[in-house]
Structures are given as C-alpha cells and as structure tokens.
C-alpha cells in the first residue's frame, strides 16, 4: 500500500466530511488568548472565513479522522461496502493542520468527525485526545466541534465536553424505520439515549458546584444534530415533528437538514437524483418559524394535503394565504406575536417597529423603510393612512405576490 501524504489524506478526508451540513462556530463561551499567550478566540458569533461555490460557509476545518468504517449506512460515502479511497490521519497531523490553518486565519477551529474503526471507544478516544492536545498542550482557544460516537463510554463523553465547544450526534434520518432500512447497524434508541445523556451532562455542569460555586466547562455551545432529507419517503410534516421532538427533548441548539446528495459509488438503495435543495431551504425556514416566530409545527403544514411544504412560496406566506382571516394586522397596535406572523417581517424589523411606535404612528412609508419588500407586506397590514381594502382576500393574491413564474429549483 502506498504511503499517503498529509495532502492526499486531507483531500480524501475533507471530501468524506463534506456531506455534514453544520459548519457553525457560534454559541461558544467568550474566550481569548490574552492570558494564555496561545492562539485562538471565540466571541459569541462565529465567522465564516470562506465560501465554497455550493454557497456553504467554510468556518471550520471539517474533516474525518478516518473514513474507514465498520458501519454500512447506504447514504454515506464512507460505508464499509463503498469503494471510496480510504485514509487515516494521525493525531499529530490533525493537531498540526488545525493550528497551521488557524494561524493563517483560514478557519475558526476544528469540526472533527470520524468513521468508526474497530470500536467506538477507540475512535472516540482518539478524537478526544486531539481536542485535549489542542486545548491543553497547544493552548488553542479556537472552536472545537466533535461529532460524538453514540456508543462510546460515558467517561469519553465527559472528557469530550470538557474540551469541545459543541458536541453533536446525528440522528441521520427523521424516522426509526428509515434508520433501520438505510443504516441497519445503527440503533436509533442508542442515538436518542446518547443525546439524553449529553443533555443531562450539559444541565448538570451548568449548575454551580457546591464547593467552588463555579460552573464547570462542558460543551458551552450545546449539542446539535443532522438529518438527511430526501433519502427516504418521510414527508415534511413528519420531519418537522421529529425536529420539534428533538428540540424539546434534548435542548438542541440546531437541527440541520441535509438534502440527500448523491455520492460517488452510491448504494442502489437510494434515489439517484440531484439534492432537493429548495426543499431543504423551506425546511430551514419552517424550523425558524418554530423557533423564533412562535409557530406551532402543526400550523406550518396544516392544509397541505401531502404533508409537504410549498416549494413555490415560503412557509410563512403560505400560512398567511391560508389564514387570511388573521389579516390585515395593524402595525400600530398589533402585539409582537402577530407582527411576527406578517409575511416579509423579520424579527429585527418587528423590533424596530415596536421601538418606533412608542413615539410616533407608523405610516406605510415607514414600514417600507424597515423591511425588504413593501409589495409583499402591503396586503397584510394596516398602517397610518393605509388599508389594503380587498386585496387581503383577493383571489389572485398568491399569483400577484409570486409575480413572474419563478424557477422551482435552485439549479
């Protein structure tokens, strides 16, 4: 077997990691290197240091420790039956790459994941050791995200939380049946249990200790997960149900949706098609509506016969068109919750309006200056000197708002 250079390994092991959607470097505790004299800082919101032509942010060095794997999940390029080239980084190589990239300001930190080799504990042990070396030996203050292996020992999980900013475990697919079919060796019960353990640990460590009254550091960026969309027949209603359950049960910071992407050397169990990017986009919008706009998951898909979100218009507009009785909303009097339901109003615009209307009444021009497109908003609001009259209930409102026929796919 030929010896691979670090460059060869990097090519293989970053290619193997690109199907993971998350690259977030936010939510970490504030930290800098002024005291330690090392390198690295996290100041709340993350920074995207570059963008690939797929529009995804490159914030972290996202790599696999190895793409050798004993699991055979059909959606994964690294499954054991795949003929993909295999490689394995040494601990030292990952530490050096992270530091060298960080020093050049290419990245915010490391997102380390791995195929499972031999045993979950052995693989997780090496990942934890990389995090430990970075934090302790190298005084590295940048962001570290570790993808934890569900079956690993609790002590390893505990150590991982000590060094990492964020831990994540992928649920892989929205339903247990999907996991059973496409990832036969994975156990959804174990994945859930691991997320429960993580939540319990995060909550336990958030309490000040009795002796020192200090909080111990444990994954300050919380936990997140990812599910693949479009690899099985689960509809959007079920996906949003799964997300709502995950947010509620395990206090996740984020659920990532990853449009199933064809992979080289694909398994025959899977659809061979371009990834459903628009569907993924709509799911993120719906996810935002649940988390920041006070929408219940049932409302979002109510009235959609097939349980799928409308691809043509965003889910908030879709809801508004289906619930016209709730409109128009008076921007000078409506409570925040109702303003948040107006299509075209973001959380910031709503806050600005609330601030402003304490001092003067809002006219349509005022609203126009605070939001992206007044044309989209107009039919749904009442402002000083403005009433939409019959347009709110007009039959052709949907067609009018969409305007010219739009492309459905993002390609």
């Amino acid at each position: 077997m030929t010896v691979l250079s670090t460059r060869d390994k990097l090519a293989i092991l970053s290619d193997a990691a690109k199907y993971d959607a998350s690259c977030a470097s936010s939510g970490a505790a504030k930290r800098n290197s002024l005291k330690s004299g090392g390198i690295g800082s996290t100041e709340g919101s993350g920074i995207c240091h570059s963008y690939a032509p797929d529009g995804r942010c490159i914030s972290l060095l996202k790599i696999l420790l190895t793409n050798f794997c004993i699991y055979d999940c059909s959606y994964c390029i690294n499954r054991s039956s795949s003929n993909v080239k295999r490689a394995r980084f040494s601990i030292e190589e990952v530490v050096r790459l992270t530091l060298e990239f960080y020093k050049r300001n290419y990245i915010e930190g490391l997102f380390l994941s791995s195929g499972v080799i031999r045993s979950p504990d052995e693989t997780m042990g090496e990942m934890v050791e990389i995090a430990r070396r970075l934090r302790v030996d190298e005084k590295f203050g940048g962001y570290i995200h570790l993808k934890t292996i569900p079956e690993c020992a609790p002590e390893l999980l505990e150590q991982a939380g000590l060094y990492a900013d964020r831990l994540s475990i992928n649920v892989e697919l929205p339903t247990d049946e999907g996991v059973k079919r496409l990832a036969p060796e994975k156990r959804p019960e174990t994945i859930r249990l691991s997320m429960a353990k993580l939540r319990a640990k995060i909550e336990e460590k958030a309490e000040p200790t009795l002796k020192t009254k200090k909080r111990q550091r444990f994954a300050p960026g919380g936990q997140s997960t990812q599910m693949i969309v479009g690899a099985d027949a689960t509809n959007d209603a079920e996906i949003l149900g799964a997300s709502a359950r995950l947010y509620g049960s395990y206090q996740l910071r984020r659920v990532y949706y990853s449009a199933f992407s064809p992979i080289p050397d694909a398994s025959s169990a899977l659809p061979l098609m371009k990834p459903p990017l628009m569907r993924e986009h709509r799911l993120y919008q719906a996810d935002w509506l649940m988390r920041f706009y006070g929408f219940d998951r049932h409302e979002i898909v109510a009235g959609r016969q097939d349980g799928m979100l409308d691809l043509e218009i965003d889910p908030k507009l879709s809801w508004a068109l289906a619930n016209r009785g709730a409109f128009p909303v008076d921007v000078n009097r409506a409570p925040r919750e109702m303003l948040l339901r107006v299509p075209g109003f973001g959380t910031r615009a709503v806050q600005k309006m609330l601030d402003m209307r304490r001092f003067r009444r809002l006219r349509l021009e005022d609203v126009g200056r605070l939001c992206q497109s007044i044309a989209k908003v107009r039919p749904f609001i009442v402002a000083e000197g403005w009433s939409p009259g019959g347009t709110t209930d007009a039959q052709h409102l949907r067609a009018r708002l969409i305007g010219r026929p739009t492309q459905l796919s993002l390609f």
Binding site: S36, S41, P262
Partner: protein, 489 residues
C-alpha cells in the same frame, strides 16, 4: 458675481480619519453654542478651504447641558470609521437633533437615522469581513516565525478592528497591511502605522497549498449555489483570497462532476466489506417482542427496553422501568415518566419525585425499601419550543402497559400497592375509579393484593394557591402515614 454671506463657516480639523475625541470635542463646543450644522466644515488633516474661518472653535458654552443617549456615542464611534466624508456632518446633525428629540434614534425610518444605521452596518460588515478574509502568510520558521497579511478594507477600520486580532493571535507576531493603515503586533504591543502597499506583503507560503486542497474537496459539486456564495463573499474580496482563484474552475466542472456522481452505477461492495460484516455484525440481535412473561425483574426490565406494545416509544427517549428492591413489601405506582425521568431513565427523579421523596420522609417511610414504578413506562408529551408538555396517557396505552406492571407485581409479590392518581388506579384495578372519592381507602384485587388509593404528587405542584397546595400536601403526608401503618399491619 458671487455674494458671500455674512455667516462665517466654522472649520474643524480632525487629525485623522477616525479621530473621534477631536470630533466629540468640536461637536460639544459647536453644539453648545448653537452653531447650525450648515455652518460647519469638517476637515481631516490640513485646511484647504479658503472661505472657512480658520480661527479656533468657540469654547463650550457654560451652563448648557448637552445630554445624549449613551447609544449615540457608541454608534458614532463606529460610524466615524466610515469612508464617506459626509459622516462628520451627519453625526453632528443627529447630535443637534437629539437635543430636541431624545428618542430620535428609535425612529428607524427617519432619513438621518436610516443613513446612520446604514453607515454603521457598512462599518460592522467591513469589520466582520476583515476578520473573515485576512489571510496571514508565514515568514521565517520556528522561533522566528512571523505572519503578515494584505487586506483592502472599504472603511477606516484597521485601528478599531486590531484588538480583535490581538485577542485571537496573541501568541503570534503579525502585521496586517492595508491601504488605510497597518496594525502590527510584536507579541507584546500593538502599533498602528501608516498605509502600506501590496508590494510590501509577502506571497504564498507552503500551507496555502493544503488550504487549496481543502477548499477544493470540501465543495460539493451537486449543490452548486454560486449566488449564495457571492452574496457572502463578494468578488471585490477575491483578489486577496488565495482560494478564490479556484472558484471559476470548480463552477465550470461542477455540473459534470455532479452528473458523474449520479450516473456512476453502484458497484460491487468493497473487498473488505464482507470481512467487516462477518467480524462486527454477524451476531444479530433478537428483535421479536417476547410473548412470554419474564422469569425475573431484570429480565423483564431488559425486555421492556424494546417494548412496542403501544406507540409511545416513538417519541420518548427510553423505557423507564420500576426501581427498588426485588423483595419490596410495598410498591408505589405513579402515572408515567416525565421530562426528567425520560432523560435519566429512572422513575420519580423530577419535581414530582422530589415532593414524593420529601413526603415519604416526613411520613417515616424509607424509600430505599420501596419499589417505585409507573403505570405507563414511556413519556407521553407534546413538544412546545424547548419544553415538553406532559400528556395524559389514554386507556389503551395504560392497558397495554399493564403487561409490565403486572409482571413487576407478580415477581415482587408485595403486601401492598399504592395507586398514585387515577392512571395508576386504572392500571392496578383494570377499571376507572373516582380517586377523589375513594382517596385513603384500600381496595382488594381478585388476586388478594391490597391497593391503597391516593393522589399523584404532581397534583400538589399544579395548585397555584400556596395555602391550598400546603393543605393538599398535608393530606398527602397523612395518606402516607396511613400507608406506613398498613405496611406494619
């Protein structure tokens, strides 16, 4: 002929583009003397305006209050970094207007405020993009390693942004060169210097090649979204980003690469696959749900882990089985696990469990000698944001779960069972009974097991009136005292 008006223009000289203290000092002098915005010329460096009165500015007028919101000062400090020469005048105009209208900044649609917001946003974005797109190149090695970067900001942000790089790259010696000034950190102190030129900046280093390798391979050609990329990484930055040179080729090749990914036929499994399967996955687990009762509590607990007798397992984390000595003389049966129990996998560890423990303690019952379980072993809930709202299990679910409760009772053979609430009573007696009416009574089952009826401790937690809750709790303690006496009997 041009007629000059009698008004004298006041000229302010700021020593640098971002000289906020001088702007503030001048603004204070001018505003307290009611000099209108139109009569002021703001200059950076030497004066070249012939019509402006170069004499010194008026003193701050005594006894004139000039109060502005703290927010304005913070924002003005950011906006002064903007490259628009009109920013000094805008800030002064807003300052003057704030005296009459202290809430002006809240009027987000006011043209001056909009302009302020816009400038502030532009500066913030420029600062953010500098943090993102500065690319250091290493010069020298080992102890002598130093790092330098060339960056072209839109605004005068180098000084404002430099502390960020100090906090982040404390352990490195570095310099950031820009056409609007330089920042240099020698490991101990920060120096802000004059503008530099691109020729002063070093070319690529060896690690850059690895970065390009990474950039190429992390890109998924099946998800090409060029517009999304350019929205966040506008072309104006590309010339100083080494990876940007790769973008045109990646875009051009994407369609073919994606098509190849899709078209390539699935191949035969890799050679090592069979061996991996054999070594790690040959021992298949028994998955079928057992139809026969278990021989021991431990076996029943194991079997219950995979219970599919009702659909509640789908949303819950795990089966929460009973806990306690296998020869306990008393068994407490609750309703179902809650949020805490679902996470911990143990019964009665949440808020209701705490009430329960305290009450047992007061009544003189040692929880360690009791067996505690629930009528339903999975948590039934509805997610609401970050919380899970408890849902009462229905009759079908309760009856399905009796399979386990009856095995627990059969294997323990207690003298007494305590039904905590209606769901527990339904499970233990197989029929709905009015708990409030029968509270404190002992019913005997066909198999001879005595069942004491009382409320569920969570009932006490739901009473909002404190005195009522206290009274209810006292009654519950009395119930437990009665239970203790029954245990002794």
């Amino acid at each position: 002929m041009i007629v000059l008006h009698a008004t004298t223009l006041q000229t302010v000289h700021l020593s640098s583009q971002t000289d906020f203290p001088a702007w503030r000092d001048a603004a204070r002098r001018l505003a307290t003397n009611d000099i209108p915005p139109a009569d002021i010329v703001w200059n950076v460096g030497e004066s070249d305006d012939l019509f402006a009165d170069d004499a010194s500015l008026p003193e701050v007028a005594p006894q004139v209050a000039l109060n502005v919101p703290r927010e304005f000062i913070d924002r003005a400090e950011a906006v002064i970094c903007h490259s628009d020469p009109a920013r000094f005048a805008l800030l002064y105009r807003i300052l003057v207007r704030l005296r009459a209208d202290p809430n002006l900044l809240k009027i987000a649609s006011d043209p001056d405020v909009m302009k302020l917001n816009e400038m502030e946003k532009a500066v913030r974005r420029d600062i953010h993009k500098m943090r993102a797109f500065v690319r250091f190149v290493e010069i020298g090695e080992g102890e002598d390693a130093r790092y330098a970067a060339w960056f072209e900001p839109d605004h005068f942000i180098v000084e404002r942004n430099a502390p960020f790089f100090v906090r982040r790259f404390t352990g490195m010696k570095w310099a950031i060169l820009t056409p609007k000034g330089t920042a240099e950190w020698d490991g101990e102190s920060l120096t802000i210097g004059p503008p530099a030129s691109k020729a002063d900046a070093p070319a690529a280093d060896a690690t850059e090649d690895l970065w390009l390798t990474y950039f190429t391979n992390i890109f998924n050609p099946a998800r090409l979204k060029v517009k999304a990329m350019q929205a966040e990484m506008p072309k104006k930055y590309w010339k100083n980003l080494p990876e940007a040179a790769l973008i045109p080729d990646l875009i051009r090749g994407a369609d073919r690469a994606a098509r190849e990914m899709i078209e390539r036929m699935p191949t035969l499994p890799a050679p090592h696959h069979a061996k991996v399967q054999e070594k790690y996955w040959s021992a298949k687990e028994a998955t079928a749900a057992p139809e026969a009762p278990a021989g021991s509590l431990d076996e029943a607990r194991r079997q219950a882990e995979g219970c599919r007798r009702c659909p509640l397992w789908r949303d819950a984390t795990q089966t929460v089985f009973g806990e306690g000595p296998h020869d306990a003389r008393i068994v407490f049966v609750g309703e179902q696990p809650g949020d805490r129990e679902d996470i911990a996998g143990k019964p009665f560890v949440g808020p209701a469990g705490k009430v329960f423990n305290d009450v047992l303690d007061e009544a003189g019952i040692d929880r360690r000698i009791t067996y505690v379980t629930n009528a339903v072993k999975h948590f039934k809930f509805e997610p609401r944001g970050k919380r899970r709202i408890h849902f009462k299990p229905n009759v079908v679910e309760v009856l399905a779960c009796r399979w386990w409760v009856e095995q627990e009772l059969g294997l323990i053979q207690p003298d007494l069972a305590v039904a905590l609430g209606a769901t527990a009573a339904l499970s233990l007696l197989g029929r709905a009974i009015p708990v409030t009416k029968l509270r404190g009574e002992v019913l005997t089952r066909d198999d001879g097991l005595r069942v004491f009826i009382t409320i569920h401790p969570s009932f006490i937690l739901r009473i909002s009136e404190r005195a009522d809750a206290e009274a209810e709790r006292t009654r519950f303690v009395e119930d437990m005292v009665a239970v203790r006496k029954l245990m002794a009997a």
